[in-house]
């Protein structure tokens, strides 16, 4: 136990402020300030409530947005009527959310609303996510919200039901992990590369049991959108949440958003948010330090997000892995990926490009990709190049800036917002055996469709791959 005046980390401050009751068995009942609900992980939770006659304790702190199943093609006809969804199971899940949200008094931002998008894009964009709050969603990428200094973490459907019924969760406090990145990022190195570098350093399991806090000059200088990308991929290193201390950039991002505090409330909130940063001398259970100058533009080669290599590098040789289990896993990965040890990453030809997902679908991501695509054209060998904005508002902003024209003229498809090709739950899929340069977060076996092969990279690198038809060092386009 720490004394009342001991220096505390950002994580501990948020945790302490939300403990409803500390239990003798080491668990605490933690209050949840914000609950985002989507169509895939909620139907069984609502059914559970209905079966037990329970209600939603705080519908006013809950927001529902469909995103996973929703097609990214046109959603309404010329007169604004919703077009039918071909997959009956997807339609049934979307209908279930459409039925459950009003039945339990929850606000729904449905498919035809301009504000609809991926939950993790919508939450910050709406100012629903605020510093110092606890944010949950039945989705592991809820870690994203830590970019605003909120404790955001993914939960399963039983926990969704628990939060709906009680606005709390029974949890044990995680250990704290400081990931400090100091120095100057090199040319062509983006927040996505920082995220991949961190996952590679920690390994896919290294953050398990921890909540990460990202510190150092790189994050202080990073935009909120970049921080969202880094925090988003905390879970790829096993950390359930990732945090960046709120600062002036955070407040500037939030001010004036639809659900941000207003007037005197705003001033009071900012004063409180300024107290949240980790105290000098606060102790982390573990600290990892990365020199920004050592991070190159990165790409994944295997089927685990820690299978990372510089774009100038080669496919690693499984024989070089000491651990027999890792060696066997690497061999399986290379077979699945259709790659040969020693092959240059830049020689790997791609079939599809996906620019989108909760990791990289915000306006800055689209600007970075458009800067590469401008005046160029998607290579003839590329079968499909998708650009999927993270929300209707991102889409509108991009169109106001003319980014849609740049993409369309370059041969990309400009789509409606949603999770799209990240996870193969909607019509956007990578066919078996095809290779996708993807700005998403997971390169798991079958993630983008059965037999799909995924290379994770930044939006600018994805655009560069689209133009050349192979994995490409974006610095060649500088």
């Amino acid at each position: 136990m720490t004394s009342a005046n001991a220096p505390r980390t950002l994580y501990q401050k948020i945790w302490d402020a939300h403990v409803v009751q500390q239990r003798d068995d080491g668990t605490a009942l933690l209050y949840i300030d914000r609950h985002l609900v989507h169509e895939v992980t909620s139907p069984q939770a609502f059914d559970g409530l209905a079966a037990t006659g329970r209600t939603v304790r705080r519908p006013d702190l809950t927001l529902a947005v469909p995103d996973h199943n929703i097609p990214t093609t046109a959603r309404a006809d010329a007169v604004g009527h919703r077009l039918p969804i071909a997959d009956p199971q997807s339609a049934a899940q979307l209908d279930a959310l459409r039925r459950n949200a009003p039945a339990f008094g929850i606000e729904l931002i449905d498919d035809l609303a301009a504000e609809q998008g991926i939950v993790h894009v919508v939450g910050p964009e709406q100012g629903f996510t605020l510093p110092g709050t606890t944010v949950v969603c039945g989705d592991s990428h809820t870690a994203s919200h830590g970019a605003l200094g909120a404790l955001g973490f993914g939960i399963g459907t039983s926990e969704v039901e628990h939060v709906l019924a009680t606005q709390t969760l029974l949890l044990k406090r995680s250990k704290s992990l400081e990931v400090r990145v100091d120095g100057q990022l090199g040319p062509g190195v983006t927040p996505k590369d920082v995220a991949l570098a961190i996952v590679a350093r920690l390994t896919a399991a290294g953050g398990a049991g921890y909540v990460a806090e990202y510190t150092g000059s790189v994050f202080r200088a990073m935009s909120i959108e970049g921080r969202l990308t880094v925090c988003n991929m905390s879970i790829e290193a096993g950390a359930r949440a990732g945090l960046v201390a709120p600062d002036d950039s955070t407040f500037a991002y939030l001010e004036g958003r639809p659900r941000s505090p207003k007037g005197a409330d705003w001033d009071r909130a900012v004063a409180y948010w300024r107290t949240l940063a980790s105290d000098p001398g606060a102790v982390y259970d573990k600290t990892v330090v990365i020199d920004a100058a050592t991070i190159a533009p990165l790409v994944t080669w295997g089927t685990s997000p820690d299978d990372v290599v510089a774009i100038t590098g080669i496919v690693p040789d499984p024989a070089a892995f000491d651990d027999p289990a890792r060696r066997a896993a690497a061999e399986k990965s290379l077979t699945y990926m259709g790659l040969i040890a020693g092959q240059r990453m830049q020689d790997v030809a791609v079939d599809r490009i996906f620019i989108g997902s909760c990791t990289n679908s915000r306006i800055e991501d689209l600007r970075a990709a458009a800067a590469v695509a401008r005046g160029r054209h998607v290579a003839s060998g590329v079968k499909q190049a998708l650009v999927v904005p993270g929300s209707g508002l991102v889409k509108r902003q991009a169109e106001a800036e003319g980014l849609d024209r740049i993409f369309i003229e370059a041969g990309f498809e400009w789509r409606e917002p949603g999770c799209s090709m990240c996870l193969a739950m909607n019509p956007d899929k990578v066919p078996a055996g095809e290779r996708c340069a993807s700005t998403s977060n997971r390169n798991f076996v079958g993630r983008q469709g059965p037999g799909s092969r995924t290379h994770l990279l930044s939006p600018a690198m994805a655009a560069a791959a689209a133009v050349t038809g192979r994995l490409t060092d974006v610095r060649e386009f500088a």
């Binding site: 139907p43 006013d60 709406q126 628990h162 606005q167 044990k172 996870l423 739950m425």
Partner: protein, 199 residues
């Protein structure tokens, strides 16, 4: 939730690391609005491999799975735990688990047993021929060779599993404390609930 006391039987000696929840249940099977019937889709990509242990008749119906580290990493989908329960799994033994998946498994009465890699390796060997027993009360895994490995478990989870408790019911009994916290919030951080809905 059905109470757990001892789990004894064959164990699938799978043993590989980083089994993610996309592997346990692929996204195209998440479109269900119920919890049932996912077992037949579990581990689809592994089952496509010739000679895989999950389809080996020697282990048919095994209640235990032995895996490598970081079991259940990736997506928070509880469908993974539902699929495992539906295929008859009642326990998974591994050197480490993803935090979210371990919680989901627990909520569905599946015991996650963390043991050091060396002990997991030993169990992978033994399981090829013999059954394994897990006793939750004494927190031990035993084999017919007299191996006896003790594991740690969160006391709250242990009690819930032993008694088959409904966690929401437990929390609802703390309603006064939740109401008191909300009253404190309204004073100390009024913007938190004031701002959630668009003005």
């Amino acid at each position: 939730m059905r109470p757990i006391d001892t789990i004894e039987g064959k164990a699938y000696p799978l043993g590989r690391p980083n089994i993610d929840t996309d592997v346990i249940i692929a996204a195209h099977h998440l479109k269900t609005i119920t919890r049932e019937g996912l077992g037949r889709f579990a581990f689809e990509t592994i089952r496509a491999e010739p000679g895989n242990v999950l389809d080996d008749p020697a282990y048919a119906g095994a209640p235990i799975l032995i895996a490598g580290d970081n079991y259940g990493c990736g997506s928070s989908r509880e469908h993974a735990a539902w699929a495992m329960a539906d295929m008859g799994l009642r326990a998974v033994i591994a050197p480490s688990f993803s935090d979210i998946h371990a919680g989901n498994a627990f909520k569905n009465g599946i015991l996650t047993v963390v043991l050091p890699q060396a002990q997991v390796d030993r169990l992978l060997e033994v399981a090829k021929e013999f059954p394994i027993a897990i006793d939750l009360e004494s927190q031990t895994v035993t084999t017919p060779y007299q191996d006896r490995f003790r594991f740690e478990i969160d006391p709250f989870r242990k009690e819930c599993l032993l008694k088959g408790l409904d966690e929401i019911g437990i929390t609802l009994a703390m309603d006064d404390a939740i109401t008191a916290h909300e009253a404190k919030m309204r004073v100390e951080t009024p913007w938190v609930e004031g701002a959630a809905r668009a003005a």
